[in-house]
Amino acid sequence: MKLLTLSEVTKSFGGVTAVGGLSFAVRQGLVTGLMGPNGAGKTTVINLITGLLHPDSGSIRLVESELGVAAPHVIAQLGLARTYQNVRLISGMTALEQVMAGSFLKRETSLIASFLHLPAARRRMRALEERARHLLSRVGMADRADVLAETLSYGEQRRIEIARALGAEPRLLLLDEPTAGMNAAESHAIGELIHRLRDEGLTVLMVEHNMKLVADFCEHVVVMNFGRLITEGTPAACIDDPDVQEAYFGKARDADRLGALR
């Protein structure tokens, strides 16, 4: 089933077309990779899906609901959660507090009940704290729960951001370069976590540069360049596609010419 469908989505900034006539679908229950060289428009696509930007034309549908010009918090309520290319944790909060903030949609507490600290509200918050600790341990950050998140290493911060996104119990998780700055072992661990989440019913759209990660853990890949779709299909097919290779590595003719110059 197609969970997320983009149809002819276009977004321009002044004279620059960041995304042009882009159409692809994310199937429910699969891990889909979004690839492309830097500047291809991948993060813009994520921003368009989550509502931080609105498309100039085209449509973005979650199942059958048109996301259109919905505000980001409304889109989040529909079950989308994301991480960011440059980690954006809330300054001043511990790792646990980050995940608690991410769990806002699961609070099941009215404002009055929360303000008066009624017993039911206190119970719910304790339960969510437990859940938050559990999420942190899933990303391997259990022992850092009470540490100021901004003092941790880059890789640790990325993992906390994933835990935070999971706090909302989303049905579609959008990851923007989740393994940037990680070594092979850490990246592999993230890949395995993503597969476990997929097995639990989560759909994942992952922007990634790490070809091995995409090859090992994505079931479907969409490749962009200059804001447009180049190709989509299985990871193996995409990576072997000459257009994709040219986008990433440049023309074979140019490589030869450069070699001749030396």
Binding site: A71, P72, L80, I90, H117, G167, A168
Partner: protein, 284 residues
């Protein structure tokens, strides 16, 4: 010895009261600041509460508690109207708009003598018992404590630090900020009646740039990232002129300015900074 304490109390009780009154306005400013909005509108909320409260003291027979509650409600009503109008603007425009609001408030007060006594103001022959003041402040502080530890508190911190990220976590920033204005209105309205009773007088100049300046300075000085900051900041900011007047009476204004400047240079995040406390804990 007891006489010395009594003398000290006689001399400085009034300053302590004034510090507590200022704490209301500082907390009202903190209420919106903690959700990411710099606004001077608490002055206007104070005017609403102060003038309504003054009229109630003069003409109704209502008990003090009822008057306090109604002043808070007046502030709340004003805040909700202002919020609806202001929240359509982006944050730096809101700061300017709130400044304009303070200026307009004074003109309105001047030109509505039936409500506000116009240029002559209203004289209030009613003292403010310090006990009432302290209890009211205590209740407000408890309110801020509970807000801080509630879902609203978590959401407000997220909205303040990074509104885009907060939105993608499902937090409706406008709704949070609307609530923030409401809190600011109640606390500001209370501050208004407290100030009116403390001075035993209200006039167009009571709720003007002076209050705006004291409340913002107190909030930033004390620390705008935790509710205790504004309380402490208001206390320091009230005590400072008194101290300066005692030590260097001739240049007390300059001394106040210099003290303020030194605090901003060395403690730009204010006296109470939860993040700095946590950073130190990590370093150990």
């Amino acid at each position: 010895m007891l006489q010395r304490i009594a003398d000290f109390w006689a001399a400085y009780a009034s300053t302590l009261s004034y510090g507590m009154v200022n704490a209301f306005f500082a907390l009202a400013t903190y209420a919106t600041l903690s959700a990411g909005i710099l606004s001077f509108a608490a002055v206007t909320f104070g005017a609403a509460g102060g003038f309504l409260g003054a009229q109630l003291v003069l003409h109704s027979g209502l008990p003090m508690v009822a008057i306090f509650v109604l002043s808070g409600c007046a502030g709340l009503a004003m805040a909700l109207v202002i919020a609806v109008v202001f929240l359509r603007l982006s944050s730096h425009w809101m700061a300017l708009a709130s400044l304009a609001l303070v200026l307009i408030t004074r003109v309105f007060v001047l030109n509505a003598p039936v409500l506000t006594g116009g240029v002559n103001g209203l004289s209030i022959p009613q003292r403010l018992p310090m006990g009432w003041l302290a209890v009211a402040l205590g209740i407000v502080v408890i309110g801020f404590y509970t807000l801080h530890h509630s879902w609203y508190g978590i959401a407000a911190r997220a909205v303040r630090e990074d509104p885009s990220v907060a939105a993608c976590m499902g937090i409706d920033a406008r709704r949070i900020q609307f609530i923030a204005f409401g809190v600011s209105g109640i606390v500001g309205g209370l501050g208004g009646i407290m100030l009116a009773l403390y001075l035993q007088f209200v006039s167009p100049d009571t709720f003007f740039i002076g209050v705006a300046f004291t409340m913002i300075a107190g909030t930033v000085l004390g620390g705008s990232h935790h509710w205790f900051g504004p309380v402490l900041g208001a206390a320091v900011f009230t005590a400072l002129p008194t101290i300066m007047q005692a030590i260097v009476p001739d240049i007390q204004d300059i001394a106040n300015g210099v003290a303020l400047l030194l605090i901003m240079i060395f403690l730009p995040r204010g006296l109470i900074d939860p993040r700095a406390i946590r950073l130190r804990r990590v370093a150990r």
